[in-house]
C-alpha cells in the first residue's frame, strides 16, 4: 500500500485481532488510549472490505471474522479408505443373498446379534438401503442392496452371486473352524461330546 497507515488505526487493528472476544469502544480505548476509535474502526472496515477478513459490528461490539461467503473453505472433507468389519461384511452378504431381509432374520442367520452401527456403515457406504416393511406382526423394516452395491462388486445382477453349490465347490463351505475342531477332537470321545453341545 502506498499510503502510510495511521498509527492509531494500526493499534486498533492489532487490539481487535488479538482480542479473545468482540470489543466495545471503551475496551478498545483502554488499550490504545486517546483517539477517535469510531473513525479508526470505519477506516479499518473500509480497508478490509471485500477481502478474506472483515471487521463486523455486533451490537456495540466489534470484531474481525472470516468473510462469511468463504466459510465453506474452513471445512475440508477427506476420504479415508477403510475396510469393512467382519460383522459388516457378513451382514452385507446375508442382505445380498436373502433380500429383502429383516434385522431379526439377519441375526437368525448370523447366529449373533448385530449392533446398530453395522447396518449404518453399510448404508453409509451406499451398499444397503431400507426396502419397505414386511407385512407381518410388528411390521419390521427390511433391507436390500443398492445399484452401487452391484457396481462396487462388479456384478451385473444379484443372480451373478455364486450359489451354495458354487461356494461348496470352491471350498468356501469348509470353514477352518470346523476342520480344525475335527482334528483336535479326533483324540478324545468325551471332548467331542462336550464341544458338540457347545456348537449346537
Amino acid at each position: 500500500m502506498s499510503e502510510e497507515p495511521d498509527p492509531f488505526e494500526r493499534a486498533v487493528e492489532a487490539v481487535l485481532f488479538a482480542a479473545a472476544e468482540p470489543l466495545t469502544l471503551d475496551a478498545i480505548r483502554a488499550h490504545v488510549g486517546e483517539g477517535d476509535v469510531r473513525q479508526a474502526l470505519d477506516r479499518i472496515a473500509a480497508f478490509h472490505a471485500g477481502r478474506g477478513i472483515e471487521l463486523v459490528r455486533r451490537g456495540d461490539r466489534w470484531h474481525f471474522q472470516t468473510a462469511g461467503d468463504l466459510a465453506h473453505l474452513l471445512r475440508r472433507d477427506r476420504e479415508e479408505p477403510r475396510k469393512l468389519s467382519r460383522a459388516a461384511i457378513e451382514t452385507l452378504a446375508i442382505i445380498a443373498y436373502h433380500e429383502p431381509v429383516t434385522r431379526a432374520e439377519i441375526e437368525a442367520i448370523r447366529g449373533v446379534q448385530i449392533s446398530k452401527g453395522t447396518l449404518d456403515v453399510l448404508m453409509e457406504a451406499g451398499w444397503a438401503r431400507p426396502a419397505g416393511r414386511r407385512e407381518t406382526p410388528g411390521r419390521p423394516l427390511t433391507y436390500a442392496t443398492t445399484p452401487d452395491f452391484l457396481t462396487h462388486f462388479g456384478l451385473a445382477s444379484r443372480r451373478d452371486l455364486p450359489g451354495i453349490d458354487d461356494l461348496r465347490a470352491a471350498g468356501l463351505l469348509d470353514p477352518i473352524d470346523l476342520a480344525l475342531a475335527d482334528a483336535v477332537l479326533g483324540d478324545s470321545d468325551d471332548e467331542e461330546v462336550a464341544n458338540a453341545a457347545e456348537d449346537a
Binding site: 482480542a19 479415508e80 479408505p81 462396487h152 462388486f153 461330546v193 458338540a196
Partner: protein
Amino acid sequence: MTVMGRAAGDNPAAIRLHPPMDPDPDTLTLDIDGWEGPLDLLLALARSQKVDLKQISILALVEQYLAYVEQARALKLEVAADYLVMAAWLAYLKSALLLPRDPEVEPSPEELALRLQLRLERLNAMREAGARLLARDRLGRDVFARTAPEGLRTVRKSLWQAEIYDLIAAYGQINARNRPVFHVVHERPVMTLDAALERVSRLLGESLDWATIETFLPPGFDGAFRKSALASSFVAALELARLGKAELRQQSPFAPLYLKAAG
C-alpha cells in the same frame, strides 16, 4: 593470545577476587551455588578482565580462579569436586606456562591455554545468543496470534472397501457355521442298575461269608466298565440292604466294603 606476554608483568598479589555481584563473604555461598560449573565461573572471571576474550590473559585468569576457590575453602565453604578438578588442572597449566618449555610434552601448554580460551569464547557466544533469542518479539508475549480463531476443520469421510471375495467367503462361513451338525453318541460300556441288582443278589445267595464288593463285579474288565459296574453294584448293595436282603460292613471310610446275605 597474550598468555606469555602478560604473565611476566602480572603481580599475583594484585589479582582480586571478582564474585559476580557482591564481594561480601556471606553471599559467597550463594555465588558458588549460582555458577553453572567451573567453565561458567571462569567465563565470569574472564569477563571481569574487561577485554575481548581473544585478548584474555589466561595466566591472570588462572590466578583469579585459584584465588577464588582458595577463598571459598578458607571460608570453609563446600566446593564441589569439579571445581577442585578444574583448579588442579589450572594449577598444572600455570606451572607449565611459567616453566621453560619441554618440547617432549604434547600438547604444549600454549595449545592447552588456547583450547581453554576457545571454550570460553564458545560458551560466551551461546550465552549471548540465548539472551538475544529471548529478547526477540516472542509470540504470546510481544506479538499475538488470534486468540479465538474460527479454526479449520477436516471432516474425515470413510471410503468403505470390500472385495467380492470377502463377501462370498463371509457368506460361505455363515453357512458352514449354521449347517445342521449330526452327532452320534458312542455306545459306552456301562453296567445298568438292574443288571447289578440281579448279579449281586444272585452271588449273595452262593456264599454265607463276608466278601468284599469287588468280588461281586464281573471278572475280566478294566477302566470305564469296571467303574460303572462298581458304582452300580454299590447302589445295588444299598438297595438290597434296604430290602433286608443283605448286610454291609466297613471298618472306616475308604476301607474295604464287605457284603453278606442277611441273616
